[in-house]
Structure formats: structure tokens, C-alpha cells
């Protein structure tokens, strides 16, 4: 057991994946000599060498395509796409080639590609470097999507992603890089599609990921002072999604709040609410609530960006209003 940062947990996850399987290689812009734009790959080039860890030109389309080609020939590429926003320049590779390759060929190939990228707002990078980009990919069957929020999950989900035989988009949240936590020496493997029950409670089910999980937990602590016990669930992976875990919880609490970074349109939070309401309409004693960001791009200035993100106070207030409904 050591205390490490979320960033270091990612690095360790990648290192152990590289060590465990010679078919795994890491590549992307500045991941080798420079150790990554976010320093999530520090020391890996030194340890694994030129053959396993490679810098690329600024060519995200080539990066994603290369990963696909290598994967169908039996390798397990781990590509870095730096800021998740840049996934837009290789969107075709991800949604039209990677996600559909297995299906279009009638199952002739597997695409065990992992793409890891830095996600989310709150760090002052403005509109083109701050998007919670996971929502772009959720209408595209064929992809798996993971969104770790803790040190342990950052590690374990990286291992699971690389070992998975399907394409996995691994979103690490920029706002969490410096967060510290305990990482066991031997981390229990995590399955994709299994939620984490962060906190038990009976008053309301709150579902949140990444940065919002931590804010929701702070809100839950505050609400506990008022006697409101929140049950907090972090799905950890958006595809596959652990609907059973949310259902179990809502059966108990009869209330549902989803907290997400990013706007509401075509988002995982809206999808979840629609799903729960379709299958468990009678379960809810109060309206579902989607707490999300404004319907705007991410602004730069501190006061603007802070207001854009759901705050602990806002989460507490909205949860309170649902509980009191």
C-alpha cells in the first residue's frame, strides 16, 4: 500500500500493462521522451525502450488508425490522445472505423485498442481543451467508455481497458491528476461494467462520475449533518453501464439524482434517467433530477468556469429539494 496521485496510478497502470504483455505498446504525441503532456507516462520510455513506447507526429488520425491496424494484427495498442477534445480530429477513426470494424466484418476481427485522454473542465483551459468528451461517443455501439474517479480505479480500469478485447476509451479527468489516495500493492482487478457503491444511504440515489463524484460525496457529507443519507454510486464505466446497481439503489431510496459535468443534451445522465424511468417508473417517489452544466461551451475565466460546473452547494441544494419533494 502506497499513497500515490491519480496521475501516478495511471502511470503505474500503464507500466504494469506494458510489463504484463509484450503485445502492449504505448504511443502518442510526446509520450516517450517527454513523459506525456500530463506526465502520465513519465519514465516508461526509459524503462521499456523505443520499441514499446513511441512518440508520434501531431497526427491523431494516424494514431487512431495505426492502433486499429496493429490491433487487428494481434497487438494491444495503448494510444494517448492528450486532451480528450482532440478526439474530435480523429472522430472518424474512432466512431466509423474502430467501433464498427468487428461488426462490419461479421466478427472477423477484434479491436483491443485503448485510447486514453485527459478529460473535463475546471482547470482554466477554455472551450477547446476542457470538454467532458465522453458524451460524444455514447451513441456509437462498439465502444466501451471508462471514467475513473479514484486512484485505485485509475489503475484498475487502465489494466482492465488494456486487457479488454474491445475498443476502450479511457478518460482521465484533468482535475483529479494531483489527487492523492492509497494504492494497494496488488490491486484487485475491476471488471468493466461494475459500479462502485461509494456511500450507502436511504434517502436518495445520487449517481456521479469523476470530478462530480467527489463533489457529490462532499455534498452527501454535508447533507448527512441534516439527517439526509445519500446513497452515492459511481458507475466507473459508462459503456457497459451497471444498470442493475442503480436499480437496486433506487428500489431502496425511490429517488434519483444524476450529477454530471457537461451539458444535458445527449449525455449519459439523460440516458440514465430515461432508462430508469422506463424500467422502474413506479419506483420513483419524486421527479428524477439531472444536475449538469450550462448549455454553453466551457468559459475560461475563473468565476465563469466555476459557475459553469455544478458546485457542492448546488448539488446539496438540488438533492435536498428532491428529498423534500
Amino acid at each position: 500500500m502506497t499513497v500515490v496521485t491519480y496521475r501516478q496510478a495511471i502511470t503505474r497502470g500503464i507500466a504494469d500493462a506494458l510489463a504484463a504483455d509484450e503485445d502492449v505498446f504505448l504511443f502518442g504525441e510526446d509520450v516517450a521522451r517527454a513523459g506525456g503532456a500530463f506526465k502520465t507516462t513519465t519514465g516508461l520510455w526509459e524503462r521499456f525502450g523505443d520499441d514499446r513506447v513511441m512518440d508520434t507526429p501531431i497526427s491523431e488520425q494516424a494514431i487512431v488508425g495505426t492502433a486499429i491496424g496493429a490491433a487487428i494484427r494481434g497487438l494491444r495498442p495503448l494510444a494517448e490522445v492528450m486532451f480528450a477534445d482532440f478526439a474530435a480530429v480523429c472522430f472518424d477513426g474512432i466512431v466509423n472505423e474502430l467501433a464498427k470494424y468487428r461488426y462490419m466484418t461479421g466478427g472477423q476481427v477484434n479491436c483491443p485498442v485503448t485510447i486514453h485522454m485527459a478529460n473535463g473542465a475546471g482547470t482554466g483551459f477554455a472551450a477547446q481543451h476542457s470538454q467532458p468528451a465522453e458524451n460524444w461517443f455514447l451513441n456509437t455501439p462498439g465502444l466501451k467508455v471508462v471514467v475513473p474517479a479514484t486512484v485505485t480505479d485509475a489503475y484498475a480500469l487502465m489494466r482492465a481497458a488494456v486487457e479488454d478485447d474491445d475498443p476502450v476509451l479511457y478518460f482521465e479527468h484533468k482535475g483529479l491528476f494531483g489527487m492523492r489516495g492509497e494504492l494497494p500493492d496488488v490491486v484487485e482487478p475491476v471488471q468493466l461494467g461494475v459500479a462502485d457503491l461509494v456511500r450507502e444511504g436511504d434517502a436518495v440515489t445520487v449517481v456521479a462520475t469523476q470530478q462530480m463524484r467527489h463533489r457529490a460525496l462532499s455534498a452527501a457529507d454535508a447533507l448527512a449533518q441534516e439527517g439526509i443519507e445519500v446513497e452515492l454510486i459511481d458507475p466507473r464505466t459508462l459503456v457497459p453501464f451497471d444498470h442493475a446497481a442503480v436499480r437496486r439503489s433506487v428500489e431502496k431510496t425511490n429517488r434519483l439524482v444524476v450529477v454530471q459535468e457537461g451539458s444535458a443534451g445527449a449525455s449519459w445522465g439523460g440516458t440514465l434517467i430515461a432508462h430508469v424511468l422506463q424500467d422502474g417508473f413506479e419506483l420513483l417517489d419524486a421527479p428524477p433530477r439531472l444536475i449538469s452544466s450550462d448549455e454553453t461551451p466551457v468559459p475560461y475565466a475563473g468565476v465563469l468556469e466555476a459557475a459553469w460546473l455544478p458546485s457542492v452547494e448546488r448539488i446539496a441544494e438540488e438533492v435536498r429539494s428532491i428529498v423534500r419533494y
Partner: protein
């Protein structure tokens, strides 16, 4: 580097005939409504794919486009299962999930036909990367059109392949048109092979209707690639004898253009060279007839196959 022997040359003729008959059959099938959506035929371009793939090894890996029937067949994929896929049959190559634009037979090294222009070029780079990573002797070959050299993925792929000196051959089938637009209306240079210089890569333009010339050039480029000397861009001048897709009558062609190219039909040229080389007309005719028969028999088989079970649509999304 020895040229292909007589037998190999006759096999190339047979392969070109099969593609031609296959495409003619697709044309008919589309016209009669048996092919859904669209289909892009390659009559007139057979020497490109046959010359290239017959110069390579079975274990080499190939990617191509929606206009990929010829490439797939030249890679040795079964005629009947190819027809089956285009007809949307359960025993089609992809179980009916892919169709005309996505013929794929991984076992034969026909890794995929891609319908997004440029989409497969980076994939071909990755295939070559895997070969190098595993220190095999395999090579990756990638077919694409003239118009595709204007899309971003082309640029990124050639650049990366070159800086990493990967064993990949970029074969540009210059058939003078991208869909309905003549190349000169969209592209400010004439010789597309010249684009290779932007990537420090050799670029060669050759006659794509001369199957032996194609074979020779590819043999040389493949040797370079296998020796670790990196990729080559080969522009092969050829002509699409039919329209772009579906029922396109190709009315935009200047007068006489088609006729001039028909006179340089790759099958005719190859037959002429074989005749000059002493092969008897009867043997050529027999090859043609055998090809036709094989194609028709394959089509009949494929037509007799059942449709896929609708439930199979839910399979193959995830491993």
C-alpha cells in the same frame, strides 16, 4: 528480380477475367435490385490489383476501399462468399453485415474494404507497424483512389509511415475521377506520385493497365519495404470503365475518353503480350471461359444461400 513465369502470367490473366466477370455480374445484380444501397465497380482497373497482389505473398496484408471487389478477389478470396456478401446472405464473407463496400476475409489477408475515403490508410500503417513490431516479414499494401489523396488521413498516414520506415505500399489507383469530378478540378498538381516527396518517400507513376509493369514495380518496392527501407507511393494510371457507382452513366466524360481507354483495356493488353510471347489464342480463350464459368457457378451458389437470421444482427458488436 525475375519476372513472373508463363504460368504466373496466365494466372494473372485468369484473375483479371474473374474480376471482370464478377463486376459485370454485380452490375446486372444491381440493375435488377438484388444489391442493396450501392456498388462501385472496377472494370478496367484489374491490372492494378492483380499485378500488385500477385507480386506479393499470401501472408502480406491488404486493405482497400468500397471499390474493392477486385482487390479482394485478387487476394484470393472466394468468389461465392464475395457474391454472398454483396447479396446479403448468411454465408457471405461478413454474414451479410458488410455488403458490397466492406468485403473482408481476414484469413486471406483481405483485411477490410473501407467506405470512408481515407479511413483505411492509417489502418494500413498500423498493419505494417504490427509486422515490424513482431519482426515478421509481412508487408501491408493499401489501395486507394486519386481523389483520396486530398483528404487529411492520406497526409498523416504517409508521413507516419515514412518517419517510422514501415513496410507499407501505398497504391494510388488513379482512374482520373473522384466520383464525378475530374482530378484536375480538385487537385492542383498533375502527378500525384510527386506528393511522396512531402514525406521523404519515393513516389513512382506507372501504367496501371500493364499488369506485368505493375508486377515489376511492386516487386521492387516490396523488396525495399521488407529490407526496412520504408514505404513507397505508387501511382498507377488506369481508368474506370463504368460510372462511379450505382447507375451512374458517367455522362461527364469527354468524348472519346472511354474509347481510348477501352483500347488500352488491361485484359486486352495482357492477352496481346501473351500472344506475342507465344501463347495460343485457344489457351487464352479457355482461360476466359473457365473464369466466366467459375464466376457464374459461384453466383449461382451464392444466390441459393439463405438470408441471415434477423437475430444475428445483434451479434459481433463486442468480442
Amino acid at each position: 528480380m525475375t519476372p513472373p513465369d508463363r504460368d504466373a502470367q496466365l494466372q494473372m490473366l485468369r484473375a483479371m477475367h474473374e474480376i471482370r466477370f464478377f463486376e459485370d455480374a454485380c452490375h446486372r445484380l444491381f440493375a435488377t435490385g438484388s444489391v442493396r444501397g450501392t456498388t462501385h465497380l472496377c472494370q478496367g482497373q484489374e491490372a492494378v490489383t492483380v499485378g500488385t497482389l500477385h507480386a506479393l505473398r499470401p501472408e502480406d496484408q491488404m486493405t482497400c476501399t468500397y471499390r474493392g471487389h477486385g482487390a479482394v478477389l485478387a487476394k484470393g478470396v472466394a468468389l461465392d462468399r464475395s457474391f454472398g456478401e454483396i447479396l446479403g446472405k448468411a454465408d457471405g464473407l461478413c454474414g451479410g453485415k458488410g455488403g458490397s463496400m466492406h468485403l473482408t476475409d481476414v484469413d486471406k489477408g483481405a483485411l477490410g474494404s473501407f467506405a470512408i475515403v481515407g479511413g483505411h490508410l492509417p489502418v494500413a500503417v498500423g498493419v505494417a507497424f504490427a509486422a515490424r513490431y513482431r519482426r515478421t516479414d509481412e508487408l501491408s499494401v493499401c489501395f486507394f483512389g486519386d481523389g483520396s489523396t486530398n483528404i487529411g488521413a492520406f497526409h498523416e498516414s504517409l508521413n507516419l509511415a515514412s518517419i517510422w520506415k514501415l513496410p507499407v505500399l501505398f497504391v494510388c489507383e488513379n482512374n482520373l475521377y473522384g466520383e464525378y469530378s475530374p482530378l484536375h478540378t480538385t487537385t492542383p498538381i498533375e502527378v500525384l506520385a510527386d506528393r511522396a516527396a512531402a514525406y521523404g518517400m519515393p513516389g513512382i507513376r506507372i501504367d496501371g493497365n500493364d499488369v506485368l509493369g505493375v508486377h515489376a514495380t511492386v516487386t521492387e518496392a516490396a523488396a525495399r519495404a521488407r529490407a526496412g527501407e520504408g514505404p513507397t507511393l505508387i501511382e498507377m494510371m488506369t481508368y474506370r470503365q463504368k460510372g462511379h457507382s450505382r447507375a451512374d452513366p458517367a455522362a461527364y466524360r469527354p468524348d472519346g475518353e472511354l474509347e481510348a481507354w477501352l483500347a488500352r483495356d488491361p485484359i486486352v493488353l495482357h492477352e496481346r503480350s501473351l500472344l506475342a510471347d507465344g501463347v495460343a489464342q485457344e489457351q487464352l480463350d479457355a482461360i476466359r471461359a473457365a473464369a466466366e464459368e467459375a464466376v457464374e457457378a459461384a453466383l449461382e451458389r451464392a444466390q441459393s444461400w439463405p438470408d441471415p437470421d434477423p437475430e444475428t444482427r445483434l451479434e459481433h458488436v463486442y468480442a
